[in-house]
Amino acid sequence: MQRFREKESLKKVRMEEQELIRQVQEGDEMAFSKIVRIYKDKIVNFLWHLTGDYEKAVELGQETFMRVYFKAYRYKPIAPLSSWIYTIASNLAKTEMKKMRKYFVVSLEDIQNKYAEGIVFTENPANSELIKNVRRAISSLHPRYRIPIILKDIEGFSQEEIAQILQKPLGTIKARISRGRNYLRKELEEGSFKINLS
């Protein structure tokens, strides 16, 4: 019964979002403002995990919403609005990472220390050594694996939704998540971090 209720509520949310984006397509700034309010934290968090740079994440987040407004006419209601917004955000992040040649060299910890003062956390940041190492392990992943893992394990998307967001076949996404997790496990268990998970 609870599952049914959840499904119904999700359906309602999606209907509301479809209505909002339809209004944005007509140039309604109020509707756009509502979309920004709904997704700003999620998008900034996603981009922060992806780039490891809070300022960059905020900047890319703003650009994401600009594109949502100006490219709203391109949105087709075959996919949830969230998937479309995440697609824009991840494409922007990928381009930015390519530009900055950050592949493999991002250290979330270093950057976090650099910008720690400006970051707005939802709750007190966990500073345990283990969490720091997990962050480091994620940042060492290639974006090909990092993006699906963040979307799946941090943002909580289903594999089908991730396939939609990244515009890749479901099989590819499953393989990337699996390989990414294996790499992460290896890094945490045997790798340079030498963390005992037990």
Binding site: M66, F70, F121, E123, P125, A126, L188
Partner: protein
């Protein structure tokens, strides 16, 4: 699967408090920019259109109109527009222009036995060349 639980435990960040305001500011700035670009494009198109109209007007109504005889005279260098042509006009040399029906000539050629036409310069003037 321990590491997956750890991933869920990772801290989450929030957008800064002025995020929404900055987005809306940027939106109005870009909208203004779009309008400016649109106006610029329209004015450029208008300017090019006006230039084209001016060019056509000058060509049709202002520049002197020349017929085929005048063009032929220009090609031969005997147009009164050129100094040589002017001089020639003063010497009362009358250019003779003969129209030739090439299509008819070639049709007649078929019926005639093979003929070799030798074209030669008949003018005594060296500065006027016959073009074949």
């Amino acid at each position: 699967m321990e590491e997956l639980n750890l991933l869920k435990k990772l801290e989450r960040v929030k957008a800064p408090p002025d995020f929404e305001q900055k987005v809306l500011e940027q939106l109005s700035f870009r909208k203004g920019k779009q309008v400016r670009v649109k106006h610029l494009r329209l004015s450029l198109a208008g300017a090019f259109g006006a230039l084209a109209v001016i060019f056509i007007i000058i060509n049709i109504f202002i520049l002197p109109q020349r017929g085929p005889v005048e063009f032929s005279a220009i090609e031969k260098g005997i147009s009164p527009d050129f100094p040589i042509g002017k001089r020639m006009m003063q010497r009362e040399i009358i250019p003779i222009i003969e129209s030739v029906d090439y299509a008819g000539e070639i049709q007649n050629l078929r019926r005639e036995p093979p003929t070799i036409y030798i074209l030669e310069q008949v003018s005594e003037r060296t500065d006027i060349r016959i073009k074949y």
